[in-house]
């Protein structure tokens, strides 16, 4: 690591030319630190300097980073599975059984894939909750910020994650898979007029068979990961364009306020220097070096901790938790009760409770609870940044007083979803009857 003085001194000083061919993980100067970001491909998406307080784990809980780490694990563990799985209705179940019981490390790889998927759904949801409660989709002080669009991208990524999970648990073609496709595609067919055509397009016919499996397989291994990857890149690009985490705006705002008192116009001009293409943060970088740290190593070290920690946790957890595989798909017998995975149970609860009658006219709960309500929820969620009229000072602050009302409504909605999930998980027995968790279910014969 010792730097010979001669080439350094002789190196040309023209912009874009870097005296060192290698970058350092533990730089000894600001110059070396900046060089790392510029010369390493893996670090090119980081800024040279970041706000110290953006790195606080109590601000972001690093949920986005953890989600990305899980996505990385999913891609890595999905690759060997791609070689081992056979997307045919006759052989899919057998190939997953082989992965589970015959292939060396197969069970562990499948467990890594499955646990990462479950945790990714959880992490994405928590990330959304964090961003909402901190008002991080709001634009603060920077020019050219479009944080609302990054929020929209985020909603798209949440939906992609859910569809990936759905298409993922169909692939083993066991009972869970078969009846999930049945219910899922019947929700689509409950849409008036176009429903039947949509279902036929989804399952490639009128009954669930080989065309159905291959469709969901291609969606799972190609279309949805591709979409998620594109969303992810765009999401990261926008974070940079918007001047980093919303908390950075908070810092800039505080500084602006503090200096506003003695000389109003001048300070304003100072912050306004960056007006135009460069984000406002940059002027703060120059004005307030005490608030900034170098991305290498302060940011990289934390990112590495979050990513490697996630990988370690999943690797260990996967040795302890086996992935379930139900009986092979049987079109003749619906399991009793037939439950969706935990993250869809609140929807299963809703489609159960929303059939209503107006006179002799009946509206199917499948349409109300499966299409209208979730559609409405996603719609309002997507448009929320435009509906939120709170001041810019509420950007990047946990539980800002000016956003108290919407935070409470949001938390109440989250509570309802959690409650429904808990009821679906612990309180539903045969025929979807309500039982307390400590009650035993009655004996139900498996056949009539």
């Amino acid at each position: 690591m010792s730097t010979p003085a001669k080439p350094l001194a002789a190196a040309p000083t023209a912009p874009g030319v870097h005296p060192k061919a290698l970058w350092s993980l533990a730089p000894r100067s600001d110059r070396e630190s900046g060089d790392a970001v510029v010369s390493n491909f893996l670090l090119h998406w980081f800024p040279a300097k970041v706000f110290k307080r953006s790195l606080d784990w109590t601000y972001s809980f690093w949920l986005g980073t953890i989600t990305s780490a899980l996505l990385l694990l999913l891609v890595l563990s999905g690759l060997p599975l791609l070689f081992l799985y056979v997307p045919s209705v006759e052989r899919a179940y057998g190939s997953v059984k082989d992965i589970e019981y015959v292939v060396t490390f197969g069970s562990w790889i499948r467990s890594v894939h499955r646990l990462s998927a479950h945790l990714m759904v959880a992490a994405v949801c928590l990330h959304l909750v964090r961003v909402f409660l901190t008002g991080a989709y709001k634009n603060g002080t920077g020019r050219g910020q479009r944080r609302e669009w990054n929020w929209v991208l985020g909603v798209g990524m949440l939906l992609s994650t859910l569809f990936l999970s759905f298409t993922g648990y169909l692939l083993p073609w066991d009972q869970l898979a078969y009846w999930a496709v049945t219910v899922g595609t019947n929700i689509a067919s409950s849409i008036p007029v176009a429903g039947a055509a949509i279902r036929e397009l989804l399952i490639g016919g009128r009954t669930i068979d080989q065309p159905t499996l291959i469709r969901f397989y291609v969606l799972h291994v190609l279309v949805l990961p591709g979409a998620l990857g594109a969303f992810f890149a765009y999401h990261m690009w926008r974070v940079r364009k918007d001047g980093g985490l919303a908390r950075a705006d908070r810092e800039a705002l505080l500084r602006e306020k503090a200096e506003e008192l003695p000389a109003k116009t001048k300070t304003y001009t100072l912050l306004g220097v960056a007006r135009g293409t460069a984000p406002a943060i940059r002027s703060t970088t120059l004005e307030a070096p005490d608030l900034m740290v170098n991305a290498v190593p302060d940011l990289t070290r934390r990112v590495a901790t979050a990513v490697l920690g996630t990988i370690a946790a999943i690797s260990i957890l996967s040795t302890l938790v086996r992935s379930p595989l139900e009986e092979a798909a049987n079109a003749l017998v619906t399991p009793n009760p037939a439950k969706a995975p935990w993250y869809f149970l609140w929807l299963q609860e809703i489609v159960t409770d929303t059939t209503f009658h107006i006179g002799s006219f009946t509206v199917n709960g499948a349409f109300v609870g499966g299409v209208i309500l979730p559609g409405l929820l996603v719609g309002v969620l997507t448009l929320w940044p435009w509906l939120d009229k709170s001041p810019a000072s509420a950007t990047g602050v946990w539980f800002a007083r000016t956003r108290r009302g919407q935070n409470l409504v949001f938390l109440a909605l989250c509570l309802v979803v959690v409650l429904f999930t808990l009821i679906g998980t612990f309180c539903r027995g045969p025929y979807w009857h309500f039982y307390w968790p400590w009650e035993t279910w009655p004996e139900i014969p498996t056949r009539i």
């Binding site: 016919g205 065309p211 079109a331 159960t352 709960g365 009857h433």
Partner: protein, 165 residues
């Protein structure tokens, strides 16, 4: 000059967009099947006299066939809410009721394992999210070998009864 350039540019862009749009539409259309390899909807299900009195569940057709003496009718086992297969549960006391203008002995009720819908013995939706009664399907006797034939594409009213001579 500029008008011609403008026109040609719009023409080029328009052709590009139209090309991409038709590629997309063609790709999507190719995924709508033209031939169905589904199981046929008209199925022979056995000789009428081999059916037990009361109810028989045919898993492959997801169908309940009822027999009362020499009178037959068939009710679908597909829940009208989201398509799970309902299960039959025998009533402790059979009930005599008028269904579709004719008397019918109801021996079972039907329960759905997915979202808890309940149906009466004639398929009427009683509680739970089911929006419609279970479908009744057309039954006839095959002219060649005398087996019962069910037509799963032909829904019938609840006055339907097949009397086998």
């Amino acid at each position: 000059m500029t008008e011609r350039r403008d026109f040609l540019m719009k023409l080029g862009l328009g052709a590009g967009v139209a090309g991409l749009a038709s590629q997309g539409a063609a790709s999507l259309r190719s995924l709508v099947p033209n031939v169905s390899y589904d199981a046929p909807t008209t199925v022979k299900v056995g000789l009428p006299m081999e059916f037990p009195d009361g109810l028989k569940f045919l898993p492959d057709q997801r169908l309940f066939v009822f027999r009362q003496g020499n009178i037959f009718h068939a009710v679908s086992a597909v829940c009208t809410h989201l398509g799970c297969t309902v299960r039959a549960e025998a009533l402790s006391q059979p009930e005599e009721q008028t269904v579709g203008g004719a008397p019918l002995r109801l021996t079972h009720r039907f329960l759905c394992p997915c979202h808890g819908s309940k149906y009466g013995g004639d398929g009427t939706n009683l509680s739970g999210p089911a929006p419609r009664p279970l479908a009744w399907y057309h039954l006839e006797v095959a002219p060649d070998d005398g087996q019962l034939v069910v037509d799963l594409a032909l829904e019938v009213g609840r006055d339907f009864r097949l009397t086998v001579a």
